[in-house]
């Protein structure tokens, strides 16, 4: 497939991926992996799960590049894959937790290792992050996704509706409800 886009641009890289050129993966990942990691982390609130979600996102990107419409922006397309991977992962973990007793409370890897947490885990383990994580946890999964895409990814409501396959009205009411629930949960917390 001949790429009509500027060489090295996101569009060019996606065209190349769609044509089966694996070399295009690295520059695309280099450009987007941090942003997608933060998006996945803001939804899943676990660094390991977020990394797995980013990994899954790029595998899916390679596998589905041929289905990409060829004109839309790569950034939102990748974000859409990431948030849907994160939602799937969250559902799976919820199901797993329903029948599965973890080895220990919290992060079993860290508990067993007993070692020092990484700087990334320390950042993530801050009190504010913990409060926000527990507040987000009470939101239903789609409401949480709407909120995350708006607040962390700064997507427009129309883009969110398209990404999650929801109507614009549902996105608006979900965001409104999410914000009110978060306010209840974060009462008294200061930035």
């Amino acid at each position: 497939m001949q790429s009509p886009a500027e060489p090295g641009s996101d569009l060019d890289l996606l065209h190349r991926l769609a044509a089966g050129d694996r070399e295009a993966l690295t520059p695309l990942m280099e450009r987007h992996y941090r942003r997608l990691y933060r998006l996945a982390l803001s939804y899943l609130r676990n660094p390991d799960d977020a990394l797995d979600a980013v990994q899954e996102t790029f595998v899916k990107t390679f596998q589905n590049a041929a289905r990409w419409d060829g004109t839309s922006e790569a950034g939102p397309w990748l974000s859409r894959i990431t948030i849907n991977v994160a939602i799937d992962r969250y559902r799976r973990d919820k199901r797993r937790q329903a029948t599965f007793t973890p080895l220990a409370e919290g992060d079993h890897d860290e508990t067993i290792a007993g070692g020092e947490p990484s700087p990334e885990r320390r950042t993530f383990g801050s009190e504010l992050a913990g409060r926000i994580a527990s507040a987000l946890r009470v939101l239903p999964e789609k409401q949480r996704a709407v909120f995350v895409l708006r607040h962390y990814e700064e997507m427009s409501l129309e883009e969110i509706a398209e990404s999650l396959g929801m109507s614009l009205g549902t996105v608006k009411s979900s965001l409104h409800r999410a914000v009110h629930r978060l306010r209840e949960r974060l009462q008294g917390v200061r930035a």
């Binding site: 990942m29 290792a113 993530f124 974060l186």
Partner: protein, 258 residues
């Protein structure tokens, strides 16, 4: 005014989180200017917005360097490409009739059983049977053990891919590379493996050969210093390749996940 307040309530939330534009934004701002309740609501939501903007997640950095992530993705892509054509069609072809048969058995079994052997009513004073039978409990335990093993193998595969993916140099002159994180992670996984075998040795018996090879590879990684000679890592990578360990891990993980 109350009607207006109700009408603008959701819009005030959207305004506070920057999701309103154009005329809708102007109208909501104008209304908030003249409605004390909406103004107070807006101020409260803007304060919440500030709190959420300070979430450390917004500046979080991935704990895995890009080359390692690229290596993991490439390994998954290679594996997907190597999978024989028709794999999913085959699974679907076998899986759908099997699923239909299971559903049919589940639906018909109680009727058939009640015709063959009528169940006598429980004698008075006898306690209700337990909600979960011993058989169901044992099945559940087996599934849990297999899930744990699958997760362990998947994590171990990640460590081996990380080591194989050209780690960053820590001493260029001496041709040494940094495997500190992978080495520490291997030690954690070895601790998990011990628990795994304690909890359900029978359930993961079929995975034993792969688990043993993985254990050996993890021990090699765990024994490395954090800044190790590149040729030691290459030797380890060659061992993993020779034993086709990554492919075997992936296949066994799938089998365990059912």
């Amino acid at each position: 005014m109350i009607f207006d307040h109700l009408r603008y309530g959701p819009k005030v939330s959207l305004l506070a989180f920057g999701a309103l534009e154009g005329r809708a934004r102007e109208a909501t701002e104008r209304h908030a200017g003249s409605c004390a309740r909406c103004r107070s609501e807006l101020e409260s939501l803007l304060a919440l917005h500030e709190v959420l903007r300070a979430d450390p997640v917004r500046g979080a950095e991935p704990g895995l360097p890009l080359p390692m992530l690229v290596a993991r993705v490439e390994a998954r892509v290679s594996e997907a490409l190597a999978r024989p054509r028709g794999h999913w069609a085959w699974r679907l072809g076998v899986g759908l009739p099997a699923a239909a048969a299971i559903v049919a058995i589940a639906l018909l079994a109680p009727r058939i059983a009640s015709r063959v052997t009528p169940v006598p009513p429980p004698p008075a004073g006898v306690d209700e049977p337990p909600v979960v039978s011993a058989e169901a409990l044992s099945r559940l335990e087996r599934n849990v053990a297999r899930e744990q093993a699958a997760r362990y193998l998947s994590d171990a595969g990640d460590v081996l891919v990380t080591v194989a993916a050209a780690p960053a140099e820590c001493d260029r002159k001496d041709e040494r590379v940094d495997v500190g994180q992978a080495s520490a992670r291997s030690r954690e996984l070895l601790a998990r493996r011990a628990l795994l075998l304690e909890s359900g040795p029978q359930a993961v018996a079929s995975a034993r050969p792969v688990l043993d090879d993985v254990e050996q590879a993890l021990r090699e990684v765990a024994s490395l210093e954090s800044c190790v000679r590149r040729r030691d890592v290459e030797r380890l990578r060659a061992n993993v390749e020779r034993r086709q360990l990554l492919l075997r891990i992936r296949l066994m993980t799938r089998e365990l996940e059912g």
